[in-house]
């Protein structure tokens, strides 16, 4: 296990360095002159030269990267040209809202996707299977912002069940910040009214964000169940006369879960990206508005910071999930150790 852990850790570090190089290259090579773009066409040559020096743009590319990486290791992402605050401060403000949304969506993806897949796998080629597969497909083929709009139209406007925008109603006092997740913070503070309000605000964006992953999880669970149902030990369990439900949940599902967990990690990337779209619909105060504003304003450091945080988050989450999978499935860690 230790050997597997170290090997996986080393691979992740290589990818992390690669991510930082890639983002650095995108930011420095594509724009031509980032200083000119940041300051706009009205700025004088002198101002541009000053900013170039301040951003180390007048040095060779390698030296620029070394400087960039050194600052990165110190947690210094530079100052946002738009908000005039350090990018780290900005991200610390906006990241928790996005993280809460993505975490809730990941949870829902498991809660919706896996039972749907089990249903389909259990009733293979009968009508519950067809219905579940159609539902999974619809989740996958519609962009999350389309789901967000349909959900908000039906549940918020027509049925008047859920709030339309934001994380918390104006009438509710925000509980003291401990984790940055409003739902968790209100639980810690023991504030039930705030918890209920925050949860109602969270549910629609989280569902909209979870549907495509839930569809994939359902498809994968169904496919893997089909495979495990063909195994001898399932026939043996049937021969012993175990109930169909026991076989489905206890014997067939466990091995079928492992690829689904891996998909959960890989889909995390899609969720972080799609969070931009869902946040736009629900005016969710997360990274989306910050990121999109940064892009529209050519705010170099802010763009780099946002993409870096997302890339790093993705690599770390996948590392954690891979280790968890290796813990669940001894075959993986033994194969890696030899």
């Amino acid at each position: 296990m230790i050997k597997y852990l170290l090997r996986r850790l080393a691979a992740s570090i290589v990818v992390l360095i690669g991510v930082s190089v890639l983002i650095f290259l995108i930011a420095r090579v594509i724009p031509g002159d980032p200083a000119r773009i940041a300051l706009g066409p009205m700025a004088s040559e002198e101002q541009v030269a000053q900013l170039r020096a301040a951003l180390f743009l007048d040095r060779p590319l390698i030296a620029q990267y070394v400087e960039f990486a050194r600052n990165l290791l110190r947690g210094d992402l530079g100052v946002s040209l738009y908000t005039n605050r350090t990018v780290t401060t900005d991200l610390r403000q906006f990241l928790p809202a996005t993280a809460e949304l993505v975490a809730a969506a990941s949870l829902l993806m498991v809660v919706i996707g896996i039972p749907l897949g089990v249903l389909a796998g259990h009733f293979r080629d009968r009508w519950p299977d067809h219905a579940a597969r159609l539902a999974a497909l619809l989740g996958i083929v519609a962009p999350s912002f389309v789901w967000a709009i349909i959900l908000v139209l039906v549940f918020s406007y027509w049925l008047d069940l859920t709030p339309v925008i934001g994380r918390l109603s104006d009438s509710i006092v925000r509980p003291p910040v401990t984790t940055g997740f409003v739902t968790v913070d209100s639980l810690i503070a023991g504030d039930w009214a705030a918890f209920k309000d925050a949860s109602w605000h969270l549910v629609l964006p989280a569902v909209a964000l979870s549907l495509s992953g839930a569809g994939q999880a359902a498809r994968l669970t169904r496919a893997n169940l089909g495979e495990t149902y063909g195994r001898d030990y399932i026939d043996l369990a049937r021969a012993y006369g175990f109930a169909g439900r026991t076989i489905a949940w206890k014997y067939a599902l466990r091995p079928a879960m492992i690829p689904t967990l891996t998909i959960l990690g890989l889909d995390f990337a899609a969720k972080l990206g799609n969070a931009f779209l869902v946040e736009a619909v629900f005016a969710w105060p997360g990274m989306a508005r910050y990121g999109v504003n940064a892009i529209l304003n050519k705010d170099l450091n802010a763009i780099v910071g946002t993409v870096l945080v997302i890339g790093f988050g993705f690599v770390v989450i996948n590392l954690v999930i891979d280790l968890f999978v290796a813990y669940l499935d001894p075959r993986i860690r033994y194969r890696a150790a030899v």
Binding site: V21, I26, L137, F145, F276, V292, L296, K298
Partner: protein
């Protein structure tokens, strides 16, 4: 060719959903190609203003309703499909060759080329596609061409991965060894011996991806980073319409469903192509 009554069509149509996908795709492609002739108000694709008809709900004259300046949404949706399809075709014809060549080289030549190419691929794959496209667009002017470049830049790694996996399997086959023994060039081995074996999974993936490229393109323009008005585009129509929820709900809902239909059509079609070419999942 897929043609009713042919043997291929017979295999393809064993799954009724593939036929549904084929039908959806045919309708969308034909409508988009013939847009100026089949849409009720072809002029509404541009910057037309007809205030007396603004914000009309769906009716016989305007099945999808009209927008805030009185333009027919059905017409604009069909015209928007033209751009979506163009985006899909351009992106795949840029991204596929790059990905395939990287995958072939990495899969066939072991050693440093494999390590370098596949690590670079991993790096690209570890940034969310939409975020990578946004980062690239962040430094370019937001328009159609740049959106195509940004999407292509994030799409090739998937083809590199796929081709790499197939190449690694195929490279150990006897006929590749035979070609090596008779002194065939690396070029011949890569493109004549190995590539044909990659064709089926690549074609399958391209059919499936056409829908997903359209989805990603519409996501970019939904955020205001793709096609700029007044050119009709599904993503920006949804974004524009979302501002008038709930009263003018048809503004956002119909273009949104149009995206869903296109992706659904290519997805079902792709599953059919997969069955047809006998590609493993």
């Amino acid at each position: 060719m897929l043609w009713p009554r042919s043997r291929l069509w017979h295999r393809f149509s064993r799954n009724p959903l593939s036929v549904v996908g084929f039908a959806i795709m045919s309708v969308i492609v034909l409508a988009a190609l013939l847009a100026p002739w089949v849409t009720p108000y072809p002029l509404h694709a541009g910057a037309v203003v007809d205030i007396s008809n603004s914000g009309k709900p769906p009716s016989l004259a305007h099945p999808f309703g009209t927008d805030t300046v009185g333009r027919d949404i059905l017409t604009r949706t069909v015209f928007a499909y033209r751009l979506s399809l163009l985006l899909g075709i351009v992106v795949l014809s840029l991204a596929t060759p790059v990905g395939v060549i990287v995958g072939l080289l990495a899969g066939y030549f072991a050693g440093w080329r494999e390590t370098v190419f596949m690590r670079i691929t991993d790096v690209f794959l570890s940034i969310p596609p939409l975020v990578l496209a946004l980062a690239i667009l962040g430094f370019l002017r937001p328009n159609m061409i740049n959106a195509m470049i940004a999407v292509s830049a994030m799409w090739w790694p998937w083809y590199a991965r796929l081709t790499y996996n197939v190449t690694r399997q195929v490279a150990t086959e006897g006929y590749v060894a035979a070609a090596e023994v008779v002194g065939a060039s690396a070029f011949h081995i890569l493109f004549r011996e190995i590539l044909p074996n990659c064709a089926a999974p690549i074609v399958t993936k391209m059919t499936l991806d056409l829908g997903f490229v359209i989805l990603l393109g519409s996501s970019l323009s939904f955020l205001g980073l793709g096609v700029q008005p007044p050119t009709p585009d599904l993503g920006s129509m949804v974004a524009e319409g979302a501002r008038y929820l709930p009263d003018l709900w048809w503004l956002a809902v119909f273009p949104g469903l149009a995206i869903l239909c296109a992706v659904l059509g290519f997805n079902l079609m792709g599953d059919g192509v997969r069955d047809l070419l006998d590609v493993e999942r």
